[in-house]
């Protein structure tokens, strides 16, 4: 019996609770999508996608724990790296004069 199988309340286990939390994070990410679509500036969109990406990383990590799939964590790490690179790269290339960072 691992920790994720331990009960939280009323017969639900930690795994169930974590899955519920992942669903919550997903809802928040969908809310963020509004800003990514509406903008109004390029930077707003990048920002929203960046936050969305961070949420995705957390969701991946929670799923790794809830489903006992440690390999999800590797994906989360790579996703976090790409997310960071995305923000930096787009910030750099949207500015004509360049030179961000």
């Amino acid at each position: 019996m691992t920790l994720v199988d331990a009960g939280v309340a009323a017969g639900y286990t930690v795994a169930d609770f974590l899955l519920l939390a992942a669903a919550g994070f997903t809802l928040l990410a969908i809310g963020m999508l509004y800003r990514a679509v509406r903008g109004p500036t390029m930077q707003d969109r990048v920002l929203a996608v960046n936050v969305l990406g961070t949420n995705t990383v957390v969701i991946l990590a929670i799923l790794a724990a809830a489903l006992s799939e440690p390999t999800f964590l590797d994906i989360a790490l790579v996703y976090a790296l790409l997310n960071f690179l995305m923000a930096i790269a787009i910030s750099k290339f949207t500015v004509e004069r360049g030179g961000v960072l």
Partner: protein, 413 residues
């Protein structure tokens, strides 16, 4: 200005022409002979550069030689005394070389050449080529010098790739710039000499450790791939990632003090986050954002990055731009702005990097190193590319659209 800028442009491009025109100047009268400023720093070609300058002086090109060392540190920092003493030794050695060369010169050509040495720029932090050039130009003006002669290997401490930007920045001043035509070792050799073993080892160890956190240190194949990866990383990046050798008392001390700082920072983040969360969830959204400028006294590079990121992590403040030692910080609430000007994070950063004694300094507010750029308390103008005219018209319309059914507001306005 009594110096001629046309002449300067000519001599930058062509040393031979410069020598000729300088010769003419001597014929015209020795009182017009210029003074030359030579920034020095221990380097493989320093001796040859000094010899070249002295030769030029005895040929009648220069009447006074000023050897200056530009301090990359600031007086009062821990260790600054040692570095000052070291710089003085270098300057003494350079002056001794120059005087010996002058004595060796034929006849009495070297008799009326003055040799001066100085340590400059120790009263402030210097960040990039522009700062170095400012200091140099100021010194040159003070001493009526119109020529700067660079050692081809001149690299002030901690700025491994400064020479070219420095030459470029100097070309924007009225000073004549020359680089001593002395043997510059070929580039691959220079790379090899600058990538120190300590840096390489530190980078290698770090990347290997990172690899094994992700992999399995007990599996032989991970050793093969890990060592190969770490080698590639450290070969390509050790000169870029680390600009100073990790030193035994300094680096572990910084790590220890950093470990003290992290919980403090986390607590600050948590408390301030709760305050900002209340503001954001408040239906009235009582925010008063403004842009601020603050001049901070931390070193360039890693300390500045730590401070800027700490400011960003602390809710209510966001570093928008770090330009030399000027930080442009956007604050959401006056409360956060006041906290910023109290300089707590700046003091902590100094504690982490330079120790407890360096953390005692006046707050930015006491130093007067702060300015509000927007809102009713504004003390300075916003240095933004677009003027505050109607440049956001399109955005305005779009942004108001997003508020949903706010078109009435637009027509009102």
């Amino acid at each position: 200005m009594w110096w001629v800028t046309d002449d300067a442009a000519e001599s930058v491009t062509d040393d031979a022409v410069d020598a000729d025109s300088a010769g003419d100047a001597v014929d015209a009268g020795s009182e017009t002979r210029p003074t030359v400023v030579v920034p020095v720093e221990p380097s493989p070609t320093l001796r040859a550069t000094v010899a070249h300058v002295v030769e030029a002086a005895t040929d009648g090109e220069f009447s006074a030689l000023h050897f200056v060392e530009i301090a990359s540190w600031r007086d009062g920092d821990p260790g600054s005394d040692d570095r000052t003493a070291e710089a003085q030794r270098v300057l003494e050695r350079v002056v001794a070389w120059a005087e010996a060369d002058l004595d060796d010169a034929d006849g009495d050509a070297g008799d009326d050449v003055a040799v001066v040495s100085a340590l400059i720029g120790a009263d402030e932090y210097l960040f990039g080529p522009d700062d170095y050039v400012d200091v140099l130009a100021e010194y040159a003006e003070e001493h009526d010098a119109d020529t700067v002669l660079l050692d081809p290997e001149y690299t002030p401490v901690g700025n491994t790739t400064l020479l070219q930007p420095l030459e470029f920045a100097l070309s924007n001043t009225s000073l004549t710039v020359r680089t001593a035509p002395v043997g510059r070792p070929t580039r691959p050799e220079r790379l090899r000499s600058e990538a120190t073993g300590v840096r390489f080892a530190a980078m290698f160890g770090l990347s290997l450790a990172f690899y094994f956190v992700l992999g399995d240190p007990l599996y032989w194949f991970d050793w093969v791939t890990g060592v190969a990866t770490a080698a590639i990383v450290s070969i390509t990046l050790s000169r870029i990632s680390l600009d100073a050798d990790p030193a035994v008392p300094r680096t572990p001390m910084r790590l220890v003090r950093g470990a003290i700082y992290v919980p403090v920072l986390l607590y600050e983040i948590l408390v301030a986050n709760l305050v900002v969360a209340r503001v954001i969830l408040d239906p009235r959204l009582p925010i008063e954002p403004s842009m601020n400028r603050m001049r901070v006294i931390v070193g360039s590079g890693l300390p500045l990055m730590t401070l800027a990121n700490s400011i960003t992590l602390t809710p209510g403040t966001l570093t928008v731009r770090a330009r030399d030692s000027d930080l442009y910080v956007h604050s959401l609430l006056p409360w956060a702005r006041e906290g910023l000007f109290d300089g707590g994070l700046e003091r902590w950063t100094r504690f982490v990097y330079y120790g407890r004694s360096a953390a005692r300094l006046p707050t930015p507010r006491e130093r007067g190193d702060h300015a509000v750029l927007q809102g009713p308390d504004a003390t300075e103008e916003l240095p933004i590319a677009a003027a505050d005219g109607g440049e956001t018209d399109v955005e305005d319309a779009e942004a108001t659209d997003t508020a949903g059914g706010a078109e009435e507001e637009v027509t009102d306005a």
